[in-house]
């Protein structure tokens, strides 16, 4: 009888929504946090904490203030920055993760690709963050603005500057 009741009970819309968010964003979120922290263990802790905070605070999510993804990334960003402060360590250009060769479909233009990788490695933390949000997480400029606490146009302008830097490195190659 109890099983029947459970079987007939309607699914919790918040829980299913969170599950969908988790499935959609987990990988991108980890990549973003890892980009900020440059420390795999710390990034794992922060991602776990961010998902837990989002899970416990999902009833407080206000769709009018942005998408669920942007909200989740903002939570993770705060946790990551707190982690950075706690460790009294500044996000610096540490050792980059080795690039997965299979990730790039086309291995043409190896010189340009190398130049771009080098330029990516030399970006400062804020610029790296924009690259992660735009190209790892595929966020719109409005979503990026929500995450980093800036306006959409400001986020777009800053992103253009980063891409210009990368273009310049590509052209110089």
């Amino acid at each position: 009888m109890g099983e029947l009741v459970v079987a007939l009970a309607p699914p919790d819309p918040q829980a299913s929504s969170f599950d969908a968010l988790y499935r959609d964003a987990a990988g991108d979120l980890f990549a973003y946090v890892m980009t900020l922290l440059r420390d795999r263990a710390a990034a794992e802790d922060v991602v776990m904490a961010a998902f837990e905070r989002a899970y416990r605070g999902r009833s407080r999510f206000d769709r009018r203030r942005g998408s669920e993804r942007a909200w989740l990334f903002a939570i993770a960003r705060n946790a990551a920055l707190d982690e950075l402060r706690k460790r009294k360590r500044r996000a610096s250009l540490g050792e980059l993760e080795p690039v997965d060769p299979s990730a790039a479909a086309d291995e043409s233009d190896p010189i340009q690709r190398a130049a771009i990788r080098a330029a990516l490695a030399e970006l400062d933390p804020r610029e790296r963050e924009l690259v992660a949000l735009k190209f790892f997480a595929g966020m719109s400029n409005a979503e990026i603005g929500v995450v980093i606490g800036a306006s959409e146009s400001n986020a777009g302008t800053r992103l253009c500057r980063v891409v210009a830097k990368l273009r310049e490195a590509c052209n110089e190659a």
């Binding site: 990988g27 980890f30 990549a31 980009t35 837990e52 997965d100 086309d106």
Partner: protein
């Protein structure tokens, strides 16, 4: 121009992100950027999956719910304490009606002390007493002087009538009016009375006076004057003894000069005796008659004062009146508290905003 370039570049970035390769350079950048994205380890991915599936259960994590659930209880307790404090302040401060409930015991004690000598002395008063003695032998009983002050409000139109009743009460109790001043001006007049009421009937008189209007204030004092009484009595006895001795000596005197001398001393002693008796009478009067100062205030809002006013019994009507008074004062306290809390709330809000800004600035500083 620059704005247009930025927009064009942003559109190109969006297109490249969506897989468009019309800008090969940008497509290359997007590919390399994506290729550099760190990936979760399978172990962490599994751990995260499990945590999400279990709903982030943390059995050892202390829950703060119980503390939150106590908030209403604390609020209720605080509100009750505040209400009790307000009620005590209002009832206690509204004057004599409640105070009179507390006073009788004290008054009875004082009255008993004053009445006791009367019973003890009875008709065995000294022949030299100028007033009816109600004070007993000094060594046995304490002698007290009692006084009371009473402030009443009454409708201004009834001020004169009430003033007459005050005099009537004094007469009925066997006392008298030492002085009075009645100033009836429209609805806001004032009358003051300095009454002398037999100490043995002070409580009765105060009760009668309290029924004449709404009691705004009432107080009583008792002062021990046993020492003054004993001293005055001793001086009388000494003077009497000396006079008796002189009279005897005078009866036995034989020479003119001796008689003249005794008569001169006798005149002096008689004067001293008269003075001592006057002093004793004054002390006795202070013990036998209590001073009652009555202030009668005309209340312009005649309807406010209940017709049954006074400081007598605490009737349901008075209880209702007091309850409304308590509520109105409590409302006033709340309004004042709200007014006071507005700047505090503004400060708290400012503090919150500043705190957020500082925290955000510190967070951002970590990403430099």
């Amino acid at each position: 121009m620059r704005h247009e370039n930025t927009d064009r570049e942003l559109r190109a970035i969006e297109a490249a992100g969506a897989g468009d390769r019309s800008d090969p350079e940008l497509a290359l950048i997007v590919e390399e950027a994506r290729a550099s994205a760190p990936r979760m380890s399978p172990a962490f991915a599994q751990r995260l999956d499990d945590a999400v599936a279990e709903g982030f259960v943390r059995p050892s994590a202390p829950r703060r719910r119980p503390r939150l659930s106590l908030l209403p209880a604390f609020g209720l307790a605080g509100a009750t304490a505040a209400a009790v404090a307000v009620a005590i302040a209002v009832i206690g401060g509204s004057g004599g009606s409640k105070q009179s409930d507390l006073l009788p015991q004290h008054s009875a004690d004082v009255g008993a002390a004053a009445r006791a000598p009367k019973a003890a002395s009875g008709g065995a008063a000294s022949a030299e007493s100028l007033v009816a003695p109600t004070v007993a032998a000094p060594a046995v009983h304490r002698v007290q002087e009692r006084a009371a002050q009473l402030t009443l409000t009454t409708p201004g139109a009834r001020l004169q009538d009430t003033a007459d009743k005050v005099v009537g009460v004094a007469d009925r109790m066997g006392g008298y009016v030492q002085s009075s001043n009645v100033d009836a001006r429209g609805h806001a007049g004032e009358a003051t009375f300095d009454l002398r009421i037999p100490a043995s009937r002070l409580n009765e008189a105060l009760a009668a006076l309290s029924r004449l209007g709404h009691v705004r204030g009432r107080s009583e004092q008792a002062q021990d004057i046993t020492a003054s009484y004993d001293s005055a009595s001793a001086r009388v006895r000494e003077a009497e003894a000396e006079r008796t001795g002189l009279l005897r000596a005078l009866a036995g005197a034989s020479t003119t000069s001796e008689i003249d001398s005794l008569k001169a001393r006798l005149r002096i002693v008689r004067a001293r005796l008269a003075s001592a008796r006057n002093a004793l009478a004054t002390v006795r009067h202070r013990a036998n008659y209590s001073r009652v100062e009555v202030t009668l205030l005309g209340d312009g809002k005649a309807g406010v004062v209940p017709p049954h006013g006074g400081g007598g019994s605490w009737t349901p009507g008075r209880a209702l009146h007091d309850a409304l008074h308590v509520l109105s004062v409590a409302a006033g306290v709340l309004i004042v508290a709200a007014a006071g809390s507005v700047p505090l709330a503004v400060l708290a809000l400012l503090g919150l905003l500043i705190g957020r800004a500082v925290r955000r600035r510190r967070r951002e500083a970590a990403l430099v």
